[in-house]
Symmetry: C2
Subunit: 340 residues, 2 copies
Amino acid sequence: MTKKTTISDIAKALNTTAATVSRALSDNPRISDKTKKLVNDTAKALGYAPNPVAAALRNGRSKIIGVIVPYIDRSFFSSVIRGIEEEVKKHGYNIMICQSLEDKDAEAENIDILINARVAGIALSLASNDESHLKKIINHNIALVTFDRIADNLAPHTVAADDFEGSYLATKHLIDQGYKRIAHLAGSQKINIYRNRQRGYRAALEENGHEIDNDLIISTNSKVIAGRESAETLLNLKNPPDAITSASDFSALGALQYCKSKGIKIPEEIGITGFANEPFTEYLEPSLTSVSQNTLEMGKIVGQVFFDQFNTEEQQTQYKKILLKPELIVRKSSLRTINK
Amino acid sequence: MTKKTTISDIAKALNTTAATVSRALSDNPRISDKTKKLVNDTAKALGYAPNPVAAALRNGRSKIIGVIVPYIDRSFFSSVIRGIEEEVKKHGYNIMICQSLEDKDAEAENIDILINARVAGIALSLASNDESHLKKIINHNIALVTFDRIADNLAPHTVAADDFEGSYLATKHLIDQGYKRIAHLAGSQKINIYRNRQRGYRAALEENGHEIDNDLIISTNSKVIAGRESAETLLNLKNPPDAITSASDFSALGALQYCKSKGIKIPEEIGITGFANEPFTEYLEPSLTSVSQNTLEMGKIVGQVFFDQFNTEEQQTQYKKILLKPELIVRKSSLRTINK
DNA sequence: TTGTATGCGTTATCAC
DNA sequence: GTGATAACGCATACAA
């Protein structure tokens, strides 16, 4: 492997010019089929591979989709990233990954880097509620798709799981299983997705004739320890719940641990559901019912949304707001025989 | 945001030339401090940001490290990727991620893509035992670092966990806990890392006066179901083991499940250890003792190895073979009071 | 210490 | 249907 062959090498070999070769390779209609074949054949013979860097410089745009997530190694994000990768690969694109570490400034910096790298699009899950720095992306005419923690105001296209529906499903399932007093571990209400999950919980109760008791709703973070503490608070109420639907698998795990430590039987005495279907949920004892967000699918859809845009130049007017159907994965922690 | 400013814009503003500006920006010693300051100031004033695509074309090399892993969303890999990202970011580099899906051909294709993208280096964990296609990378004079599933023959630089040591530690720990007949779930012996783990197991036994009984070594895959089946086989022996050290957390989980289903007490009647410290291990009941490979650290080291090379031009002669110390995470599944 | 000229490989705009 | 030319933005070899 000495020197890479270029279009001019091919041109020289055929006694024609780089322009013709370039057109032939891109299947330009103004080139005769004969020369196209000729060019393609000698391209193969010479082992030609296009230089995407040169093309990117010329076009002012590279075949790269930038992806910014809080942390690469969270199972949710790594799975979405995989989906994006697999989708964009079909179109000959690659992905460039950045981490925001849930910090708005780091996110803004990554955006600058990706803009400078002339990426064709940016997929991101917001680090914070602040979305003002996304304007830059749009001003640079770079395609933008936000997912999960979406930018409602600024981002034209969004892809997210239907958190309302997911939480509704989980709560409804508990009702169907005969649980009467269902508590909710609500997560930070500053964050969109957790607000929606609480709304789903409330809707399920209301539509099924259950009263909403604010004592049963605890807004907390998504840590295991928070779940343990919340469960303790709840079970020490004069009128404790007989089920807990959590907006997070981790706090659900904490609740599960607390109940077990107190000898409270799951699911007989208390039913528990989580949210996100983290890999560990299926291995817990008892296994934890959870809401799957179809993360791989989410990534693929994010990818698709880009190419829907690329393929139809004009319609910057119609924005896609995609909401993915969640799936309730019923496991032992919520599955009891109903005694009528 | 209309047009991006370039070095010639800066040059024009200062009545000088692009060459000078370019040199000033890269802190070339042949430029006076005065003009350097001038250039840097107006660069800032004009909101200049360098175009990495142009630089890459000119240099024949972009500030991108390509990363190829079997699957992005395996916790092991996503964690290593994070480490690589955080390390290369310090040097102003970005990462481009590809998946091999454990397929040699896909891996080879990704390599071609990354070579064409003029990446500065490629980090990869081999898809298969075949490493012949890595020659291309070296021939193109692109830095290559293999990790975990390393390419012993062709890759100049390798980073891996010390599998021998990790398995040795786990086995030794079981011995120290007073277990007498320790079995091993060995994983596919076609794969390097599993061979090393078996070696560590054997060494620990031998060095501590335990006999090696080949009936207690089962070579299997790393799936939960395989662990269950293997445990069944082992516990049905005339002379069954009182401990199992597995080369994989998943098969250890299977063994754990089987024992529980049979009412065999862990760790009292049987001790179990896994390998990799998967996120789920700490939440199992009982929590699973496992060997941590410090994956984040591994990624950072991989990143460092690249820049060690970049910064010292010549020494293509000395190759780095780095072996990371594993850490035994002792949990309940192997921790019993020793009755002397 | 600075300026001039050139090329990296591609594509698009003209011409013919 | 094809060719000539310029330009994308930067960095270096060579002059001065």
